[in-house]
Symmetry: D2
Subunit: 352 residues, 4 copies
């Protein structure tokens, strides 16, 4: 156990490095009899691939998933679901630049301290490519959520400080940057071009909305629904903050304003973001996630070698300007994994 498993009852265990043979994982605990389609899982993976707006580089990986077990004649069998995604683009490269130099904003230094050495090829296990396994896990988790009619949306609220209105959420999955509205897209593209020209990168904010979660999900003390969700989302690379409902704004609000009154028709507002005392209230669950700018920038940066000598580094090659387009489907996947796990856990509470 070194943190490659997520979930207690619906559990994804993943493996793989960016420049090894491939990536994959095992989904354990999925109930039997759920419909699973390799095509639908592939569709989720395709959403994670580059090409979602100009912020992403064009790489060649086709990211084709292969289900290896646990599904028979289109249904889950209740046994472990193994899957693998081969790395296609494994040609030998020149890593001499980064092999002995710590990249600022990256985990290089910590990996070295932790493991004594590191797989320096493209970040190894710390690469964003690791998230393909999460996306597969999330797509399978959705089969559990489907039993409850739960839908998970993740859309981009902000890139480079420019906020999107919540206009037309229906088209989110097909819209560039998974933007919350159409109007903001040209503004974001302009900003991205400007920053790209400077050899710099941008961050942003993603909002997640989940509908259909029944009231009663979450455990009273440590495993509050928001605690599990914060764990799930903060565990995605580049995430530096998570807030639920009114979030940090709640810290500046008053009790009378922040409480959501109840009426015969239900709650009159949703400051709580669908979670009270760690337990779902039956309202939509709303979370917001802060994504930092990608640390690989084309500008020259001050750093040190593994021997502690000062040097500078300029990270060449084509790199993404903003992580948002790739992170978005991953955040959706983690939300799905978190909810599937909590839903199965809640079943222990049923009476016969």
């Amino acid at each position: 156990m070194s943190g490659n498993s997520f979930g207690q009852l619906f559990r994804l265990t993943s493996y793989g490095e960016s420049h090894g043979a491939g990536l994959g994982g095992v989904i354990d605990g999925c109930p039997a009899g759920l419909s699973i389609s390799e095509e639908e899982i592939q569709q989720e993976l395709d959403r994670r691939r580059p090409g979602q707006g100009i912020a992403s580089t064009a790489r060649k990986e086709s990211d084709t998933v292969h289900l290896l077990s646990g599904v028979f004649e289109g249904k889950t069998t209740g046994t472990a679901i193994g899957f693998h995604i081969a790395n296609e683009d494994q040609r030998s490269r020149d890593y001499s630049t980064i092999q002995n130099v710590f990249r600022p904003g990256h985990a290089d230094f910590g990996y070295d301290a932790k493991f004594g050495f590191r797989d320096y090829r493209g970040g190894g296990r710390s690469s964003g490519r690791e998230t393909v396994s999460r996306v597969v896990g999330g797509a399978v988790a959705q089969a559990v959520l489907d039993q409850y009619g739960i839908s998970v949306m993740a859309y981009t609220r902000e890139i480079g400080g420019i906020e999107a209105e919540l206009a037309d959420l229906d088209g989110v999955q097909e819209r560039p940057y998974f933007a919350a509205c159409d109007d903001v897209i040209p503004l974001w593209e302009e900003r991205i071009k400007e920053i790209m020209a400077q050899g710099d990168t941008l961050g942003g904010i993603v909002e997640i909305v989940v509908t259909g979660v029944p009231a009663g999900l979450g455990e009273p003390v440590f495993d509050k629904l928001d605690a599990r969700l914060a764990y799930a989302l903060m565990g995605v690379g580049a995430v530096k903050g998570v807030e639920i409902g009114s979030g940090f704004e709640a810290a500046r609000s008053l009790g009378s304003m922040n409480n959501d009154p109840m009426t015969a028709e239900g709650f009159a507002s949703n400051s709580a973001g669908g979670i009270l005392g760690g337990i779902s209230s039956g309202q939509s669950i709303v979370a917001r996630v802060a994504i930092k700018p990608i640390p690989s920038i084309a500008q020259e940066q001050q750093t040190v070698t593994r021997d502690g000598e000062e040097t500078t580094i300029r990270i060449g090659g084509r790199h993404d300007i903003c992580a948002i387009p790739r992170v978005n489907p991953v955040l959706r996947a983690m939300t799905r994994l978190c909810l599937a796990d909590m839903l199965l856990l809640q079943r222990r509470n049923i009476s016969l």
Copy 2:
């Protein structure tokens, strides 16, 4: 397993309701031979008690901890440490007001949906009193942190939107509200009085700084150090947001600004809050937590009964105006528990 345990190797399991016989827990996995003093644990518990500034009510609970096992002649034995804190103030009360009415901003509705009924006496398991067990666990966890020279501070940055400067952090533990500086205290007290007069409540922001954490703590994928920390902190009642280092500000920053350059003397800045790629960098770990206003307000609020009929509720009795003074030691405890667990986990990586 329904979420009453925290930690994988250093694990606290807690029990207890606000109006039952008492609260307590079991700490499993504490290494043998560490010095533990019941007095020091009691001191931490005393910090959590009311009386930290005018925002808290004066209750009579002495919160006296009794260690029941696992410590022999002042040292841990390596076996489970049981402890109990008796509820002293258990007199029968009139709960008829809240027995059949859902309090806005509370978990009442979710508990009902989850368990089919609830222990309505003072919130039962959802009461803030539950956190005494966490504080005991955190105090024992500090014995593990002491082995590494790690120190965990939690101070209040903001109450009711009024921010404190980072002036004199040395006196934090003794200062009212665990304020980050002296000057802000009269401003906060004025604001609290004003809000109290309106029958309303306030929230705030707590900042946590950990020094002495060695580089290399945290696991690359799901169990990133920041993910575990977010889980630990978001699992405290009233917390609605968690951010690490520059947090939500990072989302509006540029890569060139947000990256922390490395020099021969170490990192030149700490936007990362001491965590890169989920692994500690050896810098101070910095986290900020948003606390919502206490939902129990003296104003009349719109709500419904368990039968769904609309009604109003006004929550009488003496209630806290702001959760900060009580939550602060709990956040410190959770940070300690999180770190002790990760430190023991990292030991698996040692060579003989």
Copy 3:
């Protein structure tokens, strides 16, 4: 986590030493709404106490359980159930004999190697008194089993090599030694008296039969029902062997004899002991457990001191001649805990 928790979904975490303040634990994951009676739990504890035939010493502990949380108005609330049993007989004794000498057949040497020192008072955590927490856990677990109509019996098949017939299992709970029949009791008592006169001790075999377990319990690979059961039972002190159904006899049998034919009325025999491929078949579950003789004997034994010097030890005081009467209710409890956990886990597999 150092092995003081049993179970994944219905989880008992225990604490306590034989000569500390007391023993107890936390039961986490018990579903809400089950009827729990402190009297029934106490009745199970009373069965574990000395006085079950002449093989046991008469000690004064009343072993009174106190439920501290998680039960409200006679029903489980779904939150953690804390409980405590005070040690009443804590007077200071003279441990100088055993403080620096390893008792043969005891865990003393291993504890020393493991923890660097040990709580030498009466065995500390390794004492049989630790099992009171298991018995409480088992009694609560029975409330889950009651939902399924499951009944767990544990009766003694053999003491000192003298086998009991399976005659009248109805009276087992009230019969001395929890004997499988009446006729064997005088034979056992005669043998015990004889051995007692020699300052020696006896072992025996306990058989466990569980009726009412639905087919389908257990997980296909590592968490087979028999694997979990073997773990539960072998984790009881003094147990040196566990077998299921025909057990070691199966190793000498033929496939044609050992297979249980199926008929329209069900299985025609039960060599499998109710478990096939790790999954319950719906038949009675049958397990047998080997209990070694109590290592504390009144004869002089060869051993060494903590410094490695040879010496002899004669263990004085009143000690049990045979562990069976006390172990029996513990084995029953562990079986119940194991089954409650697997039943809740199986619920994850339900369709809505």
Copy 4:
């Protein structure tokens, strides 16, 4: 989580069915920097393959393992180790015989009850082929054991009731049936031929001996070393009993005979099988395992269809006569996995 993971710190999660795409798994928690050779792992897998004496059928699977991650330049990186073994022999077969009929002695009935349907192709997840993943996990676990100089032997003591002497254990890995001595082999072969001619099958007993385990391994209460070992071994298909040291014989022994005296040179005997009070004593660990006869016999057997109608079944094709040759390396692997996990757990107890 449905039982496809073994271990808490050194954790194997496996997937795969006998007639799907292949089998594999993820090893999480392996420390960084250990030498791992794909050739050595393959050698272990080859030992598990058919051809170990006449009791096994000759199948064509080459069982070639592919390491997919977590190993870089011949050393573990500390990240998850993924691996896969393709099924080569997946041609379509006629399963109509067993698709709707429950095979006596098999898990078919339980799977049906559990999951609502089953993957009937060759047993699906319940097939013995599942164990290839365990063998790979065990081979990697040995790299942890190597750090301590621990060696795990598993040899066959008994087939069809004919016992082998403990003569020459050095040649065990190369000897047919992994027999404990040479002399017994012709006797076993004769017995096997005789039984084969009758269309019947045989069971046996495997003994495991582990040398080099330091004193102090195992946890005092539920996670006793023997409890974890019993869980590991009983979780292998066909195992019906596990005993430690003198095992079931201890139940008929006296305390004075069963206690192992200690001398200045160490223990004078090893009735305990190297485990006292659940904690290793530093002596060799000795366990014995009962293997039932293979349930697939060529004789006609009475059974029922899925609709409950009585019928008979005769299981054709080439089947093994005795599971021993294949189970032996699996038992060795499970012992290794169990010990690696406990060793890493014990490291939490170190002082800095």
